[in-house]
């Protein structure tokens, strides 16, 4: 009798233990992910805005980012650029730009214009120390041409730096290249 009691207790405890370990794990809430970078470029003095976007909903999964360019730039026009970063794995999407701007002294955007593209960029916003941040900038389209523009966001970098990625160092949060045309 006692043996049976003991065994059933044993079996019961086994059941309890097993059911504990069978609890499904929680999915990880990825907090620092940037899935989407949207760059809105509005021509000063009016005209058609241009939107550049890179969207990678599976993060470091196998799918490459989807790159879209809404249209071409107009020649000899200055555009006001504004960069918006989103984490779309969360609902509603989290605006990461806010975080970047809060920690402006640890972040900086870099704009790399391909050799064939006739354009220039200039920083429009700075961090608390007066060093460039670059979530806002101006894009001056020159003569008709085609080429690439690369946007790189770094954190934990050297500030101030000489404006090159090599000098700045740090960690890359974003590095995306867009094929654009000026007409």
């Amino acid at each position: 009798m006692k043996t049976i009691q003991f065994l059933s207790l044993f079996a019961l405890s086994g059941l309890v233990l097993t059911s504990c370990s069978d609890d499904d794990p929680e999915p990880v809430n990825e907090e620092e992910v940037i899935t989407t970078m949207t760059i809105n470029l509005v021509p000063q003095g009016g005209g058609t805005a241009v939107q550049l976007q890179s969207r990678d909903l599976d993060g470091d999964g196998p799918e490459p980012p989807v790159i879209t360019v809404s249209g071409n730039f107009s020649a000899r026009t200055v555009y006001d650029g504004r960069i918006v970063l989103l984490n779309e794995t969360e609902t509603p999407p989290e605006n990461i730009t806010v975080e970047v701007e809060e920690e402006a002294d640890e972040h900086q955007f870099f704009y790399t214009i391909g050799a064939s593209l006739s354009a220039q960029t200039e920083y429009s916003n700075v961090d608390g120390n007066g060093n460039p941040l670059g979530t806002q900038f101006t894009f001056s389209a020159g003569d008709e041409s085609t080429g690439q523009i690369t946007f790189t966001l770094r954190h934990d970098l050297k500030k101030p730096n000489d404006g090159t990625l090599a000098d700045a160092g740090g960690e890359t949060d974003i590095a995306q290249t867009f094929d654009v045309a000026i007409e």
Partner: protein, 799 residues
């Protein structure tokens, strides 16, 4: 019987007559029978004359003013059985005595299977003495093991060092810590063994999977860490070691004390602490390469002739900073790092441990019981518990700055029991079973997707081994082992990854829940593995023997090989496991010829290891994310062949001068792809010359040169698309670095402070010429040079 025979055979007597009566001397050395380390503080007593002396630091003794004649000499040491030898004194007589240093609980019956040399009698086996381990007191187990020919290391910087045996590492090298198989997440390349080298008294390496008593899956081999056996005697002794080093401006302190009692009880406690700041290459500080670790252990037990028990607990904790420059953002950063030749971050020296950084803690508890049944054999039962916690901190920003990116907890319970029939003098049979339960918990609070999932693992193993002694000098050994493993995991896969890998077609039954962009899956795998070993050992003469062994080993895939999936932030690479990976099977044939004579010795160990379905991780391409492109490292299986030879030897040029020589060669080939395997150690040769003079306070100095050849056989590089260069570029990820030559100088002296207090001092200079070099098997070789000159001071106090 065998022990006695070997002792008798290994005695050498030199007769030097000087013709004068009663002015002769008896001198020589008292050595450990197993590894020839000198025994300090042994008493050599000529019974008829009642003359006695203690051996010094080299185990040497000298008794003067003896007359011609034959005497009984009693040799005793607190950890050994006292032996009596008959010695004929004919002129100044040199005689070395060898003692059985490890006392078995039962002195009358010779027990095989418990002492280190018997882990396998026919496989290739080499060992490190306590003295060698003490030299590496401030280093790692892996560093010390490199002293053994054929052992190399896979490193991440200077502080994370994994031993590799004949080119194989990770889950293929089993670390047996005082009878317990370490369960410390050995699957990761940057996961070093979680143990304190200062807690080990002896370490031996068995090459290949021949030690079936412990495992059948140790395809690379077995590292056996043992503590000194205690004597059944009333005694209190201890030692304290202090090491200071210039490279890292730190050092360590280690202390140990042992109390033994006539009644068989014993107590032992040990503690060590190490602290190092940033290490330095010849030209720059290796920023963020400091470390700190703490080891504590406590042992108690009672050992009697017919039964006994031990309780052991040890704790190891390490905080290890990882080279800041090795943390890279994407493939362009990697290309930049490889091409630039200097680390991207160089800051002034600091003791601070920044990010990336690992924090690991390992608890090990063990209870062991043995019972000897007269005329039958010995029964042993053991339970052990291990808890391994690993945090990896990454370069993160914002609120997550101080949050670990990896947080894993691995808990293991093991019970095992075995029985040894040793009543017959020429046949011994041992059989045993093992059961193990393991749970891994990956904490989701990291905010980073889990690389290794939650899982439960169940193991069952059974073995039968036998050895037969044909005559006194022929020994045969054979064994079989069966292992069952079941792994039951719960893992989230991104739907895109699940489909890209084709799992949706092969494993649809694993899907538990669809959460939209990701799937919760429940992969369950079972493995049945068989291993076997057979071999022979022939003692040719007093100095030499030949061993030959064939071992069949089977290893199931580890969690990393099965489940890895995603960006490994600290390595900046995407690692992809494969659920289809199955057991790998090794066939290893080895021969060992060993001669260890008075003047010279040689060990020659050729081997061939054919591995079917060898699991390897190598760079295969790149994947694009919003952060840029990352190199992808994938696991795959292939048939592989590893072949090589390890050679070592010594020559005693004069009583003062000795030279030692090592050479090791490993060749690894991927037979399916017909190309070299990745991460095979380059050929290496190490030669040293030593001068010693006992009269000058045991003065000893040695100069060692290590030449590491360039590894000319590596898989080809891969081509990846570089977003910044907008073209396909060669990623120079497999190109081995050039050959290098390093010199090391070591010197030591010993002082007797009192009758029971001995101080040993040592100085060593590693990388004497401050040479710039990079090592193929250091994962930081893409980012920075290896360590520069290091001056090490060591004080050892024995009491």
């Amino acid at each position: 019987m065998r022990t006695l025979l070997a002792i008798v055979l290994s005695l050498f007597v030199y007769h030097v007559s000087n013709g004068q009566q009663c002015q002769e001397a008896l001198y020589g050395q008292v050595l450990d029978f197993h590894d020839q380390t000198p025994l300090v503080g042994a008493t050599v007593h000529i019974l008829e004359l009642d003359k006695a002396v203690l051996t010094d630091f080299e185990g040497r003794f000298r008794i003067e003013d003896i007359c011609h004649g034959t005497y009984e000499v009693e040799v005793s040491h607190r950890l050994c059985r006292t032996l009596i030898f008959e010695v004929e004194i004919l002129g100044n007589t040199q005689r070395d005595f060898q003692m059985e240093h490890h006392l078995e609980e039962l002195e009358e019956v010779q027990v095989v299977g418990d002492l280190l040399p018997d882990v396998s009698n026919t496989a290739q086996e080499q060992r490190l003495s306590t003295q060698t381990l003490e030299n590496y007191s401030s280093g790692t187990l892996g560093d010390a093991l490199r002293e053994i020919s054929g052992v190399s290391t896979l490193k991440t910087g200077s502080n994370i060092v994994k031993p590799a045996i004949n080119g194989l590492t990770g889950s293929r090298v089993l670390i047996l810590n005082d009878g317990v198989r370490m369960q410390d997440m050995e699957w990761g390349d940057e996961h070093a063994p979680n143990l304190d080298i200062n807690a080990a008294d002896q370490v031996s390496v068995i090459k290949g999977p021949a030690a079936l008593k412990y495992a059948g899956d140790a395809i690379g081999g077995l590292v056996v860490i043992e503590r000194e056996r205690v004597a059944i005697a009333d005694s209190l002794f201890g030692k304290t070691l202090m090491t200071l080093m210039s490279n890292g401006w730190g050092g360590n302190v280690s202390t140990e004390i042992t109390r033994t009692f006539e009644s068989g009880w014993y107590l032992n406690g040990q503690a060590s602490f190490k602290r190092l700041g940033d290490r330095e290459a010849p030209d720059y500080v290796l920023s963020n390469t400091g470390m700190q670790d703490l080891g504590l252990s406590f042992h108690a037990g009672k050992r009697l002739i017919n039964q006994g028990w031990d309780f052991d607990y040890s704790y190891y904790q390490a905080d290890i900073a990882i080279l800041r420059a090795s943390h890279i953002g994407n493939v362009d950063d990697l290309i930049e790092s490889i091409n630039s030749g200097t680390p991207s971050v160089i800051e002034p020296f600091t003791y601070e441990l920044g990010v990336p950084r690992q924090e690991v803690a390992h608890h090990l508890g063990k209870f062991n019981y043995y019972l000897r049944i007269k005329g039958v054999g010995k029964w042993t039962a053991q339970y052990d518990f291990q808890n391994n916690r690993r945090f990896e901190y990454d370069v993160r920003v914002g609120a997550d700055r101080d949050k670990p990116a990896i947080d894993l907890e691995l808990t293991t319970h093991t019970v095992m029991t075995d029985f040894t029939w040793d009543a017959s003098s020429n046949l011994e049979v041992q059989a045993g079973v093992l059961g193990r339960y393991q749970n891994n918990f990956a904490n989701p609070d990291t905010g980073v997707r889990r690389l290794i999932p939650d899982y439960d693992k169940y193991d069952f193993g059974a073995f039968l081994i036998g050895e037969y002694r044909l005559k006194e000098n022929w020994l045969f050994e054979a064994g079989i082992r069966y292992d069952y493993n079941r792994i039951d995991a719960l893992k989230f896969y991104r739907t895109s990854r699940w489909e890209e890998r084709g799992y949706d077609e092969d494993f649809p039954e694993f899907v538990v829940e669809d959460l939209g962009t990701q799937l919760l899956t429940n992969p369950v795998f079972e493995f049945h593995n068989f291993s076997a070993s057979t071999g022979m050992r022939v003692i040719l003469d007093a100095d030499s023997e030949i061993r030959a062994n064939y071992a069949l080993g089977q290893r199931p895939p580890n969690p990393s090989e099965l489940f890895s999936d995603g960006l490994h932030h600290s390595a900046a690479r995407i690692e992809l496991g494969d659920l289809r990976i199955d057991t790998e099977t090794s066939h290893r044939i080895s021969v060992a010829y060993n001669r260890s004579g008075e003047r010279w010795g040689i060990t020659l160990e050729p081997y061939l290891n054919y591995i079917r379905d060898f699991i390897l991780l190598e760079p295969t391409g790149a994947e694009f994310t919003i952060r840029g492109a990352f190199p992808v490292w994938s696991y795959r299986q292939t048939d592989a062949r590893l072949a090589g030879v390890d050679l070592s030897g010594y020559y005693q040029w004069s009583p003062q001068w000795q030279s030692r020589h090592h050479f090791s060669l490993t060749k690894g080939n991927d037979l399916d792809q017909d190309e070299p395997l990745i991460n095979i150690p380059a050929p290496i040769t190490r030669n040293s010359v030593a001068f010693q003079k006992a009269e000058w306070h045991q003065f000893e100095v040695s100069l060692e040169g290590t030449y590491v050849f360039r590894q000319n056989e590596a898989p080809p590089n891969i081509f990846v698309f570089s977003p910044s260069q907008q073209e396909l570029v060669e990623l120079d990820i497999n190109t081995p670095p050039p050959a290098y030559f390093l010199m090391a100088l070591r010197a030591g002296m010993a002082f007797s402070l009192s009758e029971t207090l001995v101080l040993n001092t040592g100085i060593a200079v590693e990388n004497l010429a401050n040479t710039n070099y990079r090592e193929y098997l250091n994962r930081n070789r893409y980012f920075a040079d290896d360590m520069g000159r290091n001056i090490i001071l060591q004080l050892k106090l024995y009491y």
